[in-house]
Amino acid sequence: MKYENVPTICPYCGCGCGIFLQVLDGKLVGVLPSKTHPINQGTLCIKGWNIHHFVNSPDRLKTPLMRKNGNLEPVSWEEALSFVADKLGKIKKESGPDSLAVLASAKCTNEENYVIQKFTRAVLGTNNVDHCARLCHASTVTGLVGSFGSGAMTNSVPEFLDADCILITGSNTLEQHPLIGSWLLDAKEKGTKFIVIDPREIPMVKFADMYLQFRPGSDVAWINGMMRIIIEEGLEDKEFIGERTEGYEELKKVVEKYTPDFVEKVSGISEDQLVQAAKMFASAEKGSIIYSMGITQHTTGTDNVQSIANLAMLTGNVGRRSTGVNPLRGQNNVQGACDVGGLPNVYPGYQVVTVEDNKKKFEEAWGVPLDDKVGLTIVEMLNAAFEGKVKGMFIVGENPMLSDPDINHVKESLQILDLLVVQDIFMTETAELADVILPAASYAEKDGTFTATDRRVQKLRKAIEPIGDARVDWEIICDIAKRMGADGFEFSSASEIMDELASVSPIYGGISFDRLGSNGGLLWPCPDAEHAGTEFLHSGRFTKGRGSFTAIDFIEANELPDDEYPFILSTGRMMFHYHTGTMTRRTPVLVTEVSTGFVEIHPDDAEKLSIADGEMVKVSSRRGEIEIPAQVTDKIRPGMIFIPFHFAECAANILTNPALDPKAKIPELKVCSAKVEKITV
């Protein structure tokens, strides 16, 4: 007789909600929200309440599979792992370490990502390791590191409650980060003013004091416009600018030409609204900015992020409680996967690979020579595979066949590889192309830590045994590393891996499983065992010393509407589904709510094309075409369409543009040109 509640962390978005998995005689039977948890306080969103369903799905991968004569057949772990180890070794020997590439996973734990990047760097010998942060907040990391010296959310979630004004742009907070949305609703009732600036009339707009709808891709223009107004009105924080920042004069010069009139022409935001919003934000004592992928997923993503940073510094809203620049991270552990080095340019703790001292430090720690070249990012890996330069890829818990731009190209690239290994919990669209599939344990079947969007490192706890023959991700990787003759992978627990991570990564220096508890964890930086963690960054001093203003001019998106493709297509997410749908589409309640994708189109455009609500239409771009039901709604701007990217049968990413931000290498998922046509039978 055994009924217990195992405290762990919800594995969907980056809110980091505390949940209990209800375990009855070893079986996972349900979930309860933790009432004492500082973020969700006894509440959850619909996805969190149903987080147990997919764990027991009959579709779980239960045994390793290998392609034999074109078919995927069940094999033993021994056969699968010795094949993978041999083949990786062979490709490395014949074509060099850089012919291999690895995708780490924002769904996996910090410990697993640490092991994955260590395996890539120390065993495969390349820095070709990246993960889906590239597709969501790569520009946040490059942008904020440049402006502030640290690429993470500056403040913590509970601080939103006491902000005087919150500017939300490119974040559909109530749907995508529902429990942060909950804090915002509370703030609203306490008197916080909200400015929502978004091309779509998202649910948060109902609670906004001001709503500014703008043309996707014109972010730099309206932000520069706001800053010009603030300076003209004398509302800038002169003391903060003088004492804490650099580069202000250049900024001032650049924003000069962004007159409200010019901004209105470029962005569609009226002169009057822009002036009012600028004054509202600048006069707040504690002004906070929330943004997400509406800002980052552009070829000008880094520019957009640094413009946001400019606005925050101009108004003196960094380094204090309830202020700051707050990028909301989309995955449960995308913050952590970055923190622990799942990126091609940094070792754990954002220690740059091209700095000789860092390389030495890790060579000493890991006992092997390391490469000092920056590795390939996701889209670059796929391009290199297409060109035959990357020959083997190891993909852990990611599904580029649905999440990456221009899926047709992704497919061709993956098919050319000599070796594709996919480690996952379900047969994803990507796994279907693999030579070897390794069944992994789900979040409920392992220990580890996740780092939530506000740098909150929290403990994940094993509630049940892995399903079938599935194994924990870090154990699989360590097994392969050992088979390839490597030392340094003899871990016996996740806790031991965290200890090694803490020893090489100062921001995690004081974090250990013993300290974390199960009620909110610790916020990094936490440099030593006595340190209580850090609620907000840049207090008194920016991580890099002085904060840097960046003078940025507005640049149009890579692809603009024309006669052939007259619509701007934006992609994104929704409340009821999550990323590539592998988990949510196996959850009955969520499928009941929304069973397939749709394209949002404005009534005026629908009328011109004689399209009715619910009608199947053809949407095409220069990359491909899909058939998808139309959702006619006035919550979107005329001339713009929106498609959620969760659904393989009408995959938005068949259409999207793989053009990259030159600095962050993030693709422009928020703007491409597209055509909508009636399907004639």
């Binding site: 929200p33 004492t36 959850l44 969103c45 009620n519």
Partner: protein
């Protein structure tokens, strides 16, 4: 208070009067429902914060049909067990209810009218209070009331937390998920259909345990609405959910003769 509760639970386990006790366990900084099967683990037993233990019990009784189980109940938990028993969800004969009176702080937090069980084993009886919100809304005109609720429900993110946390939401298939009644996929869900359907479905069973409201990420004052309906049930039918296990719930009663007379 918790120490006294622990002693009592230890004693029940020691004497073999129960096989296990469902209550709350404090560990690693958090508190969660837990089934205590041995005296040794009782040292971690605590009484707050309140969790919906009655939500868990039907599952335990169906897994362990022969077990004699103890459960620590507050007033609202006890009333929930009464309603569950009426609907065949728990077997009261196999349950030992350990009554816990709520503290004045609890009463203040929950605005509870009846903050103690019929038999108090632990704690001192504190008198209940009426929910001041109910009075405020009662004084509003119809238009104002509609606006008030329209605003409250506009915050809803359709998490179904109210349903999931409710120990008395026991239907196998839920009408709120049927698209003929409520359009699927909308945030917020249709007003007023979603919320009024739920309110009427719980009208003759809601015992005011507040779990729905505590589970609401939008902090919608659900128990104020349900409280007003409970008041109607009492005034119209003389029915108070959770009061008497023998009293049939009016919404599931088949009338042989004439309609129920108004009380």
């Amino acid at each position: 208070m918790d120490e006294k509760l622990r002693e009592l639970v230890r004693d029940l386990l020691k004497k073999g009067e129960v096989d296990a006790v469902l209550s709350l366990k404090a560990f690693e900084g958090c508190v969660a429902p837990h089934l205590f099967t041995s005296e040794d683990e009782v040292s971690s037993l605590v009484s707050s914060p309140k969790y919906p233990v009655a939500l868990i019990m039907p599952m335990l009784q169906s897994e362990y049909p022969d077990a004699k189980l103890g459960v620590v109940v507050r007033g609202c938990d006890e009333r929930t067990f009464v309603e569950l028993a009426k609907r065949g969800q728990v077997d009261l004969d196999k349950l030992v209810l350990i009554g816990l009176a709520c503290t004045s702080e609890d009463v203040e937090e929950c605005k509870c009218e009846l903050p103690y069980p019929t038999k108090i084993d632990i704690g001192e009886k504190v008198e209940g209070v009426t929910n001041p919100e109910m009075e405020k809304i009662g004084e509003m005109g119809m238009e104002e009331r509609l606006d008030y609720w329209a605003y409250q429900f506009s915050k809803c993110i359709k998490c179904y937390g109210c349903k999931n946390a409710c120990p008395l939401c026991i239907c196998e298939s839920c009408i709120l998920e049927e698209k003929d009644w409520v359009k699927t996929g909308d945030v917020p869900p249709e007003f007023p259909a979603f919320h009024l359907i739920r309110a009427y479905h719980t009208a003759d069973r809601c015992v005011d345990c507040k779990e729905c409201e505590k589970a609401c990420p939008a902090h919608i004052p659900l128990t104020t609405l349900y409280g007003m309906i409970r008041k109607d049930m009492q005034e119209l039918f003389g029915y108070r959910a959770g009061e008497d296990v023998k009293k049939k719930p009016p919404l599931v009663t088949v009338l042989e003769d004439s309609a129920l007379e108004e009380a």
